[in-house]
Amino acid sequence: MSTKNTQDPKGLVSTLDRLSAGVGVTTQKPGVLPAAQALPAIPTRTGSAVSGAPTN
């Protein structure tokens, strides 16, 4: 109950506030992405192998 509907004894306001605690209060989380991973660049890719086949 909101307190505006009451016209009653002193002290009741705080009690009614307690009875209505949490009305409309959600657990919505702050939505921000964490920092992204830093990735190393992939440079030119080179591979070598020895070929051992003489022609004769």
Partner: protein
Amino acid sequence: MPATYSGTGSTSTAGVWTAIVTVDGSDVSSRVVGEIRIDAEESSARTAEFTIRPAAGTSFAVANWVGKSVTIDIADNASGSPANVQRLFTGLIDTPTLNLVHRTIAILCTDDLQGKIDAMSNSAIDAAIPSSYYSNVIFNSAETGWRRAQDRLSTLASALDLDPSGSLRLTAWAAKVTPDLSFTNAHILDESPGLALASRTALINSIEIDFGYRFPRVKAEGYPITYSYVTSSTIAAHVAAGNWFLLRSSVEAAIKAAGGTIQSISYDALPNTTIGTFTPGPYDSLSCMGFTAVVSFDYAQQIEEQYTITVSAPNSIAAVGTLPDKLQGALEGVYPQVVAAENSMTLYRNDVSGIPPMDLATPVSGYTTAADVTLTADTNRTAAQNAMQTLIQVAKTRIAGSHRHNYVTASVPLNPSLDLPLTVDINVPGLHAVGKVRTVAHVLSPETGQAVTQFSLAISSVAGVGVTHSDTPNTAPAGTSPGSTELTGSPTAVFSYGPSDDHTITVTFPGVASAERNKANVALSSSYNAGLPEDILTITL
């Protein structure tokens, strides 16, 4: 539904009523002094207050009062015995307050809405608020009970409360087409109608939602490579010069040393006939004059979809200007670290590891291809879409809620049927309003014989009756899809075949283009209309 209650009379006759108050099952009606008041408001606990004066000499113990059940009924007492008994309140004593001077106990009761919902399981709460949205991304899933219910209610234009008997009920904010009760000047107490219009600053008609969704995609490059260092036309001179032949195994070893995966490879075989100084040998099948291959490389890229979603009520904006608000959310797909995923793909493709990676893109010659990865159920595309739909629904609900802050108030002789779920039509000189009941207060004064129901209607009024506010269905904004791009660079191969060379074959593939590997930020925008009802509110001064 009757506009009057027999206990409090009709439009032409007075009634005789009595209140029946029980505490812990015992009738204490005769001990009640002063007013009995029951207050109810949408989505809040119903409260009751009354004062009793116990018999002289009664001892007081806290345990006899706090938490004890309370019921309050009203009855038609015209015949001298209670008839047409109607329940006004069912609940528990929350706080007894003693007045030692007057020897009275003022009692504050609650219907224990929060306690009852706190005692419900998550599935029971979800079932009690159907058509609402819920997302672990947006809300704290560790919260249960009342807070979970508040999360769900923030996505639905409805009120959840208990009826006078203590049963849970969900009621849409929107007024029904046909009012449940209609009051005219014959019912409304003199000078009781009142009107409080929403201030412009209380309105929200445009909400911008920022939502970020980051996830990896696996990619594969399919490089075609063709190399030839000798042909059947030049092989005789090649041999005569003492040059070397290229071993097929060396080709494959060089490609693997570059980190590539051979998707396909074919070799130009040595001639099987004598050509000049070239004479076929028994091991020629191990050598080649060149090769044609498709070589793939795997890696991954982080995609960050940055959604800007606008939810607005255009007719409200046209009427009062833009009154903005913001919401935000974010989700990161749960997947192994990108570098670890890349290593897993490369080791598997090159037969170093037998453990298959979670996901692989399919290489296509000449292109970079991409594929979505297998994320956890809580962080995959479906979860992201549900999160965005939840935020869109929060926005729609917030906009709708802000537009029903026009309140029409009135009082009638106590009518126990008048309750929060009802749509009420008030048509009195100078005022015609139709809306859902937002608050109800039953006030009974046994000493004066007066019993009144004060109530307020929530009126959604924006641009006037007859104006239609379109509502865009809540479908999730489209995200990106994995695509393919043409490779721009070309690989090279060099075989040092001279008699005094080192006889190595070296293959070189271009590095990954930065646009294919660096985090890709993709801006996506969409807009939705928030539908608003236009309740009847006609005022003539």
